[in-house]
C-alpha cells in the first residue's frame, strides 16, 4: 500500500514539530525516516499511523484520504521503541491479539501465532509473560504482534533504539530479510544514519520538522542536497569555504600546488583505518581518514607538519 503525505504540519504548544512535510512512499518499499532528535520523524510516523492528528495537510493510504481515519481502521502495523508489550498477557496472547479482535476462528489464530513464533524465533516462549523476556525477544514479539493481522503497512518507531549493539545488528538484518520475503510497505524511524543506509532502499532525511532530502542511501552520501545532509549523513569536515569527507583528503609530506599546511594533533589507530585530527594554520580543525598502509608509509605522528589536498570537495549555496 502506498503512502502519500501531503503538506503536513503539526504543532505541540510552542514547538513546531512538522512544517509542510510532503513525502511519497511507494508500495512495497522499505523507507527510513532519518534525523536528529526533535526533527519530527517520530511525529510524522505517528501521524501516518493515526496516533496523532495533523494540524493541516493530509495522509493518503493506497490513494484514498485517511487523514480522519481512526488508527484501528488504517490496517497498519506499528512497532514502538519500548515494545508496548501487553504485560498481563502471554507472548502467545500478545501476538494473537489483533486476530482475536477480528474474531478469527480459534484454530486459525493458533496456527498463525505458531507460524509467527517460528518466524521471530520465539518457539518455546509462547507461554511466557513479556517480563520474562529479554529486550530483543520482547521487540521480536512486538514485531510478530504487528505482523499477525497482515497489515499492508508496517511502521516502526526507533524499533532497535533501546537494544544493545549486537542485538540491534541482528534485528536490522532480520528486518531486511523479512522485507525481501514479504514486501510489505515498511517505514522505520531512526536517528542512526548507518542503520538507515544499511536497511532502507530510500532514506528521508529530516531536520527541524522539514524534509531535507529524499534519495537512495548511496546518492545521499555521494550527492547530499545541502550542508545539513552532508554533515549528518557520514562524517564531514568544513574545509575553508567547502565541505569534504575525511577519506577525500590526501596527505603529503611536501607542499604541492593546491595543498594546505596543517599540524597533526592526534593519530588514532582503529584497526584497518587510521584517523588523524589536524589543525590548519588558520585554526580550522578537521579529520583525515587513511588506510593503515597509507599512514605507515607517511609515518604520521602527532606534532608533525603535513600538507593536505582535498580530492573531492563540495560547496553548497
Amino acid at each position: 500500500m502506498s503512502i502519500q503525505i501531503r503538506d503536513v504540519s503539526k504543532r505541540f504548544g510552542a514547538f513546531q514539530a512538522l512544517s509542510g512535510v510532503s513525502v511519497d512512499v511507494e508500495s512495497g518499499s522499505l523507507t527510513a525516516l532519518l534525523g536528529p532528535s526533535g526533527s519530527g520523524k517520530s511525529t510524522l510516523l505517528r501521524i501516518v499511523a493515526g496516533l496523532e492528528r495533523p494540524d493541516t495537510g493530509e495522509i493518503l493510504l493506497a490513494g484514498s484520504d485517511a487523514t480522519e481515519l481512526a488508527p484501528q481502521k488504517r490496517g497498519v502495523g506499528f512497532v514502538f521503541q519500548h515494545y508496548a508489550a501487553f504485560k498481563h498477557m502471554t507472548v502467545r496472547d500478545n501476538i494473537g491479539f489483533g486476530l482475536k479482535i477480528r474474531k478469527r476462528p480459534r484454530n486459525e489464530i493458533r496456527q498463525r501465532v505458531q507460524e509467527l513464533l517460528e518466524l521471530v524465533q520465539l518457539q518455546g516462549f509462547g507461554d511466557r509473560f513479556p517480563a520474562q523476556l529479554s529486550g530483543g525477544q520482547r521487540q521480536r514479539m512486538a514485531l510478530a504482534r504487528a505482523l499477525a493481522p497482515e497489515p499492508k503497512v508496517l511502521l516502526l518507531d526507533e524499533p532497535f533504539g533501546a537494544l544493545d549493539a549486537r542485538v540491534r545488528a541482528e534485528l536490522r538484518l532480520w528486518l531486511r530479510r523479512l522485507h525481501s520475503e514479504a514486501h510489505t510497505t515498511t517505514v522505520f524511524v531512526t536517528h542512526d544514519q548507518e542503520e538507515a543506509m544499511e536497511v532502507a532502499d530510500r532514506v528521508v532525511v529530516m531536520n527541524h520538522g522539514r524534509v531535507e532530502q529524499v534519495s537512495g542511501p548511496r546518492e545521499l552520501y555521494d550527492a547530499p542536497a545541502n550542508e545539513f545532509v552532508m554533515s549528518f549523513v557520514g562524517q564531514a569536515n568544513r574545509f575553508g569555504s567547502s565541505w569534504v569527507r575525511p577519506h577525500d583528503l590526501r596527505v603529503r609530506l611536501a607542499p604541492g600546488e593546491s595543498t594546505r599546511e596543517a599540524l597533526i594533533e592526534r593519530v588514532a589507530h582503529l584497526g584497518f583505518e587510521v584517523r588523524a585530527e589536524l589543525v590548519r594554520d588558520d585554526g580550522e580543525r578537521f579529520t583525515v581518514q587513511l588506510t593503515r598502509d597509507e599512514a605507515e608509509n607517511l609515518e604520521l605522528a602527532s606534532g608533525q607538519i603535513v600538507y593536505v589536498e582535498p580530492t573531492r570537495e563540495r560547496t553548497f549555496a
Binding site: A49, G50, G98, F129, R138
Partner: protein, 264 residues
C-alpha cells in the same frame, strides 16, 4: 541494633494505636459471654441496622467504583482544561468533615433547600430516608478508587493502549482488554477502601438519617445508640462485627493478590 529499634518503634506504634483498641473491643464484646453477645446482636433493630449498612454500601460502592475509574481516566488520559481542578475536587471529601457534608446535604434537600422543594413537590422523601444516606455515603467515600487508579494509570502510560488501537481494537475493547486488566489491582484496592469507608461512615449519615431506630439506623449509629442506652456489651458486639467485616475484606485482598505484579 538500629534496625531492630526502628522495627520496635513501628510495631509498638501499631500495637498501641491500632491493635490495642481492636483487642479491647474483642475482649469487651465477650465480657458477659457469647450468649449475651448473641442476644444483643440478634435484636431485630440491630439486624435491621446491619441490613441498612449493607444496602447503602451495595449502592455506594459500585457507583463510586465506576465514577472513580471514569474520573481517573479523564484526569490522566484526556488533556483538558481544568483537569487539575477535577483532580483537586475529587479529594474534597477527604478534607471536609463528614458532619459538614451532612449539614450541606441538609441545606440542599431540606424543606427550603434548592432541591428539597422540587423533591417534596413530587412526593419523594430524601432526608430522613435511605436516599439521603446513600448520597451522604457516596460523597464521603468518593475519592478512594480514583486516588488508587490515577497513579497506576500514569505509571502505565498509554503506549499499550495505542498498540491495541493500531492492532484494530476500538476504544471500548481497548478499555476492557488492555486498560482494565492493567489497573485491576488498583481498582480492587480502591474498592476495598471504599467499602471500609462505607461500612464505617458515621458523621454525615448521622446528620441526614434522622437516626430512627429500626428504620434509618445504620450499624455505626446503632453502636452509639446501644452505648447511650447503657448496653455496653451490645455496642462492643456490633463494633466487633463491623471490625471483623473490614478485616476479612482486607485479608481476602492480601490473600488473593499475587506477591508481585508481573511488570517489566
Amino acid at each position: 541494633m538500629r534496625r531492630y529499634s526502628l522495627r520496635f518503634v513501628a510495631l509498638g506504634y501499631l500495637l498501641l494505636v491500632l491493635l490495642g483498641p481492636l483487642a479491647m473491643i474483642f475482649w469487651r464484646a465477650f465480657d458477659r459471654g457469647a450468649g449475651h453477645l448473641w442476644t444483643s446482636l440478634s435484636d431485630p433493630n440491630t439486624v435491621h441496622a446491619f441490613k441498612i449498612t449493607l444496602i447503602v454500601a451495595a449502592i455506594a460502592v459500585p457507583l463510586n467504583t465506576v465514577f472513580g475509574v471514569v474520573c481517573a481516566l479523564a484526569i490522566v488520559r484526556r488533556r483538558f482544561r481544568g483537569a487539575g481542578l477535577v483532580n483537586a475536587i475529587v479529594d474534597l471529601p477527604l478534607a471536609l468533615s463528614p458532619v459538614v457534608v451532612g449539614l450541606s446535604l441538609f441545606l440542599l434537600y431540606g424543606r427550603t433547600g434548592w432541591f428539597g422543594h422540587w423533591f417534596q413537590a413530587h412526593g419523594v422523601q430524601i432526608l430522613f430516608a435511605l436516599p439521603s444516606m446513600v448520597i451522604a455515603t457516596v460523597f464521603v467515600s468518593l475519592p478512594f478508587v480514583a486516588r488508587e487508579v490515577v497513579p497506576t494509570l500514569r505509571e502505565l502510560g498509554d503506549e499499550q493502549e495505542q498498540a491495541a488501537h493500531t492492532l484494530g481494537a476500538s476504544g471500548w475493547t481497548t478499555f476492557w482488554r488492555i486498560t482494565l486488566p492493567s489497573i485491576r489491582w488498583a481498582v480492587i484496592y480502591g474498592v476495598v477502601l471504599t467499602t471500609a469507608r462505607c461500612l464505617g461512615e458515621y458523621g454525615a449519615v448521622a446528620v441526614v438519617s434522622g437516626h430512627i431506630e429500626g428504620q434509618t439506623e445504620t450499624a455505626t449509629l446503632r453502636v452509639q445508640d446501644a452505648y447511650e442506652n447503657f448496653d455496653v456489651p451490645g455496642a462492643y458486639g456490633i463494633s466487633l462485627v463491623l471490625a471483623v467485616m473490614s478485616v476479612v475484606v482486607l485479608v481476602a485482598m492480601t490473600f488473593f493478590k499475587p506477591n508481585q505484579e508481573v511488570t517489566a
